[in-house]
Every structure is written in C-alpha cells, then in structure tokens.
C-alpha cells in the first residue's frame, strides 16, 4: 500500500536521526525487541514447565521445521513491507513456481527442477514489481490479481493434479536432509534471515529500503532510485516464496497446486507481530524472526495440549493482538 500521502513527522525525524546512528541500530527499537524476546522466553519457560518433553531435541527440531517455511516467506514480505508495499501473491507464486519446477521432474535432474522453481518465482516477482512501478497500480491490487493468476497458472499447468518428486534425491534432500543434525529447511530459513539482517542493516540497499518506506517523496528527492528498490523487493519476495515452495515440496514429497492457501495473511500477521509497520519504513528482520518463533512455540504448546487447530487459530489471533496493542497505543500517529 502506498502511503505517501500520509505525512509522518515522527518517522521523518527518526530518518534524519537514523542517518547519524550506527547502521547496526537501524530499525532496532530496544524496548519492542526486548519485549518480544521476553515474551518468547516466557512462552518457552511456560511450555517447558507444562511439558518436560518440550525441551527435547526432537521437539525443538519439530518447532523449527514447522516455522521455517513461514519464516522464509516472512523475510520476503518484511522487505516488501519495509518499502511501504504489500505482497498478497506469495501463496500463488509459491504453488505456481513449485508446479513449474515439478513439471520438469521427468527430466530427472534435481538442479534443473530447483533452478526452474526459483527462476519462476523470481519471474512472477519481477512481473509484480514491474506492474507496481510502471503501471503505478497499488501493490495491493497488483498482487491480489497476481494471486489469482498464479494459482490459475499452477492449476492449468498441472491439470489440478499433484506432482510427486519421489525419485529426485537432490530435491528431497532440501526438505529431509540434515547437516550437523539440523534439518536443511531450518538451515535455509536461518541463512535467509541472516542474509536479510546483513542486507537491511549494513548495505546501502537496506538504507534505501527504510528511506523509501519512511518517506517516498523525500527518498525520491534525495536521488534514491525508488522504483528500482520496489522492483528488487518484489523479486526477493517471489524468490522467498519459491524457496518456501521447494522446502515444503521436498519435505512432503508432494507438489500440489492447492497448497499455501491463505498463507499471505499468516505471513503478514507474523511480520506485524514482528513490529513491521504496514505504512513502511519501520520494523526489523530480527523482530520478524522472533515473531515466527513465538507463533511456532505457541502452536507447538497448544498441539501438546491437544487443542484443535481451529481453536489454535483463535489463540494465535489473540496473541497477535496482545503483542500489537500496547505498541500501537504508544504511537500518536496512525497508519491506515
């Protein structure tokens, strides 16, 4: 959502102050971050106290595995949101790129399937970015349209049938392999998060993102290539969607055109829980990573108590509200 019209004085002062701050502090608000970490620790302590089996390596691995897909997608979404845009198409992009790669399973070459999946995700992200920057349509509309288009592409290409990459050892390794007894999806998620932290904090592109999201006009007037930044974040979001699709496809050994339903809203919720503002320019990757872990721990604990997934949905919604409310009450300005 482009929010250029809403002036945001607090953000502007923050931006100018941010220029003087050390880059490692960019977007880092100690109070909010610490409260999130504290919440995570409390939840872990409570879960451990309730169930001794919580702290077993097996269960921790389960939590991280369950979180990894959403975490990867959240990184892409966070970058898009930092630039003040929104990407609703990630679920569609994930299934479309997964199916596109899955069509090449008969070629029996895992690198080819993986490369095609990633390439198609990147391509759809590029199309999103081009439509937003060239056609100047709001990203909400473009990516909403793309969600329908990409899902349709996935269904049309696969004929509505699931694809099974059973014989591609290299592909399956992405979901089932492990290095140092940590599963590959967790490595992938961790690396994605790490890379994104480095980029947002220490690169000029990161500075550009915060500038574009904070105040588009000021960014443009100070010579920042706003459109190029937007293009890049949509491409990254497409790429992370494709990575998530690879991880899930490999873990389940099943590429279905109907997967990832409603994931866009889950991912936006995680990003918001992580302190990312929909108006852009505010939030950090660390916050989002912690938020993903919070959701993972909550769901895992509720699973241990045998709570139905529908009730879990309500509890998760309440958790998000509890975390977001105090933070938003502190702010004087509003965004949307």
């Amino acid at each position: 959502m482009r929010m250029g019209r809403i002036s945001n004085p607090a953000m502007e002062t923050l931006m100018s102050a941010g220029a003087r701050l050390k880059p490692c502090l960019r977007g880092f608000r100690p109070s909010a971050e610490l409260s999130r970490i504290a919440l995570l620790l409390i939840l872990i302590a409570a879960a451990w106290a309730g169930h001794a089996s919580f702290m077993t390596p097996g269960n921790l691995r389960t939590i991280l595995l369950a979180v990894s897909t959403v975490a990867v997608m959240s990184v892409g979404m966070t970058l898009v949101m930092l630039a003040g845009e929104l990407d609703l198409s990630i679920g569609g992009v994930a299934v479309a790129s997964g199916v596109m790669g899955g069509l090449l399973i008969p070629a029996e070459s895992a690198p080819l399937v993986i490369a095609t999946t990633l390439g198609f995700g990147l391509l759809l992200g590029l199309i999103n970015g081009l439509l937003v920057t060239k056609l100047k349509v709001s990203s909400l509309i473009v990516t909403l349209g793309m969600l329908g288009i990409a899902r349709a592409i996935a269904n049309l290409l696969s004929g509505g049938q699931a694809l099974y990459p059973d014989d591609l050892a290299g592909y399956l390794w992405l979901g089932r392999g492990a290095v140092l007894s940590v599963p590959i999806p967790v490595w992938l998620a961790g690396l994605t998060v790490f890379a994104a932290i480095i980029v947002t904090r220490y690169s000029s592109f990161g500075r550009t993102l915060y500038a574009v999201g904070g105040n588009v006009r000021a960014a443009r007037l100070s010579g920042i290539k706003v459109d190029r930044a937007r293009l890049v974040v949509f491409m990254v979001s497409g790429l992370t969607a494709a990575v998530a699709s690879l991880m899930q496809g490999a873990r389940l050994s099943y590429i279905g055109p109907a997967g990832f339903s409603g994931i866009e809203l889950t991912v936006i919720a995680v990003a918001t829980l992580g302190g990312v503002s929909l108006a852009g320019g505010r939030g950090s990757i660390e916050g989002v990573a912690i938020a993903a872990l919070i959701i993972g721990v909550v769901n895992n604990t509720l699973n241990m108590y045998g709570m139905s997934s529908y009730l879990q949905q309500i509890v998760t919604a309440a958790v998000i509200l509890i975390v977001v409310l105090p933070d938003s009450l502190q702010r004087k300005d509003r965004d949307t």
Binding site: M3, L156, S261, G262, I268, L311
Partner: protein
C-alpha cells in the same frame, strides 16, 4: 467527456455525472457482449441467478467501501458473513427456549423461525464490526492487522462452533429469502437496493457523508475542525459488519446451509470490487453508485464465463488480469486527465 472536463460553476449535472461514468459504459458493453454471445444470458432464470450473486457481492462491497472511505480497510467481511449466521443459529438454540420461540434443531439442521435468527445475525454482524472499530479507533491497531486478526479468529470460531459440520437451514423464511422474487426481481436485490438508497442518501445528501469523506480526505484537518473521527470510524466498521451479515444471510439462505469454510476469500473480492469502482485505498474517494456498478460488472463477468463453460481456473486467470488491467487503465486515464 470534454463537457465533463470543463468546470462549470455548479459542477456537472447529476445526469451528466451518471452518464459520464466510464464504469456505466463498461457495464453496458459487458451486457451487450452477454446478449450477443450467449442465448441463455438474457433469460429470466439466468438474470435472477446473476442478480442473487450480485446482491451478496454488492452488500460486501458497499460495507468495505464505506470503511475504505475513512482510509481504513476491512478484511474480516468474508469470515464475518458466515460466522454471523453460524453464531446466530447457535445462539438461537440457546436462547430460543427462554423466549418461548418454537423451533427444532435436529442434529445440525435448524428448523425454526427466520425473523429472530436474521435479527440476531445482524446484531452479531454489528457487534463484530464494533470490536473491529474499537480496536482500530481507540486501540489504534492498524485496521489491516485488526481485521486480519478478526478474520482468522472468526474463521476459527466458526469451525469450533460447528465442529466442522455444515448447519442446514429449513423453513419457509429461508426459502423466501433465497428463492423468492417479485416479477424476476429477487428479494436480495431489493434489500440491496434499500441499502444502496440509504448509503447514497447518507453519503451524498447528509452531513454524515461530508464527515466520512472529510475523514478520508485529511484526517488531521477533519479532527481539527471538530469531527469526532474515532466515533465515525467505529460507525463505519459497524455498518460494514451489518452489511457483511446481510450478505451472509442472503448467501446462506440461498444455499440453505451454513458451513465454516464457505465464502473463503470473499473479503479480497469485495475489496477488488470497491477498488474497481474507483474507491481509493487511502480514503476520501469512492461512491456507492460506482461500487455497485463495479459489483454488477463483476457478477456479469463471472456469469458470462460460466455460461461459456470456461474452466474455473481460466476464470481466476481472467479475473486477475482484468482486475490489474482495469485499475491500471483507470489510473492511466486519471493521470492523463491530470496532465491536461
């Protein structure tokens, strides 16, 4: 069009405003396409079907448009429309005996009076809208997040209340709501017409509208000129909740059942319709007339694709491309006009 562009002292006349609308011409074009390409399009039964679809989308889009006018967004409408009916059925089973209302509910089939059920559903819609509104206006939670939270919570509640099984509705009242028509004009459309008249009157001929548009146009100025912004935002969400409940009542009466996974993703369709009708995401621009034009175009478009036997997957593809294309085109025209 040129006549429209030249400013007159009193602005363009109402007639010119109505007929100078590109959406109206798009609507006429799509109707002509329908009549020409399909012999079944302009038959009474198809028209009735189409208008019943339109009534559901129309209600959702009207409510969402009102919230968007204030510069907020409401994502909860799709979940709310089903939840209001499911919760209403549960509540009626609970309070029915106390109110001495005769009804039976065998298993998950509701056989009972329609009017109280509908009233309770509307109240639940208003209540959910109130929660959204209070969270946004007084809790200062971003509307996108607040309504996203209620969306997922209401879906979860719907599943929990029904245990994942559909509720069936039996009764003359539901049949009437879902199937009756006065000379091929379905009941739902009449209800939508009344809602539209109310919206049009409030927004264009009443001080309420001036306030709502002022809030969307520039909230700070509106607040400084003494408008109680928070109060009006809450009311907009309540109205959107009631509209969603109306849509839910019509939708479930037509299907004679209410099931938790129904109407999945309708919130995005409603927003797409509102935006297609020129409603802007940052508030202050949009009208009920244009929104309903867009809703009708959408309903006819889907109907035509079905009539021509287009695969549902292609339908999604076409809807997606059309959405981006139409909004892009409209914005291109808008920029062109500004440049002149």
């Amino acid at each position: 069009m040129t006549a429209l562009a030249t400013p007159t002292p009193h602005g363009p006349s109402a007639l010119k405003r109505v007929f100078g609308q590109p959406l109206l011409w798009l609507l006429i074009a799509i109707v002509v396409i329908g009549v020409v390409t399909s012999q079944y399009f302009f038959t009474p039964s198809n028209m009735e079907n189409l208008l019943r679809d339109f009534a559901v989308f129309g209600f959702l889009a009207l409510g969402v448009m009102l919230v968007m006018l204030t510069g907020r967004i409401d994502l909860s409408v799709g979940a709310l429309m089903i939840f209001s009916m499911i919760a209403s059925i549960d509540l009626m089973q609970f309070i029915g005996p106390y109110l001495d209302i005769k009804m039976m509910s065998r298993g998950s089939t509701y056989v009972g009076p329609t009017v109280p059920l509908v009233l309770v559903a509307l109240a639940i819609g208003a209540l959910a809208g109130l929660v959204n509104g209070l969270g946004v206006a007084y809790g200062k939670v971003t509307s996108f997040v607040m309504t996203l939270v209620t969306l997922s919570a209401l879906r979860g509640l719907s599943y929990t209340l029904t245990n994942g099984r559909p509720y069936y509705l039996r009764g003359e009242g539901f049949k009437w709501l879902g199937e009756a028509a006065w000379g091929h004009v379905p009941v739902g459309l009449i209800a939508l017409g009344i809602a539209f008249a109310l919206f049009a009157w409030l927004l264009h001929a009443h001080v309420v509208g001036k306030r709502i548009y002022a809030i969307g146009g520039d909230e700070k100025t509106a607040r400084h000129s003494g408008i109680n912004v928070s109060c009006w935002v809450v009311l907009a969400f309540v109205a959107s909740g009631v509209c969603a409940a109306c849509a839910g009542i019509l939708f479930t009466s037509r299907l004679m059942s209410a099931d938790a996974p129904m109407a999945n993703g309708y919130e995005l369709t409603a927003i797409a319709i509102a935006v297609l009708g020129g409603t802007q995401l940052n508030g202050g621009h949009g009208s009920p007339y244009k929104t309903l034009c867009a809703g009708l175009i959408f309903a006819i478009g889907l109907n035509l694709l079905t009539l021509h036997g287009v695969n549902a997957w292609y339908q999604n593809l076409i809807v997606g491309v059309a959405l981006i294309g139409v909004v892009g085109l409209a914005q291109g025209i808008g920029r062109h006009k500004q440049a002149l």
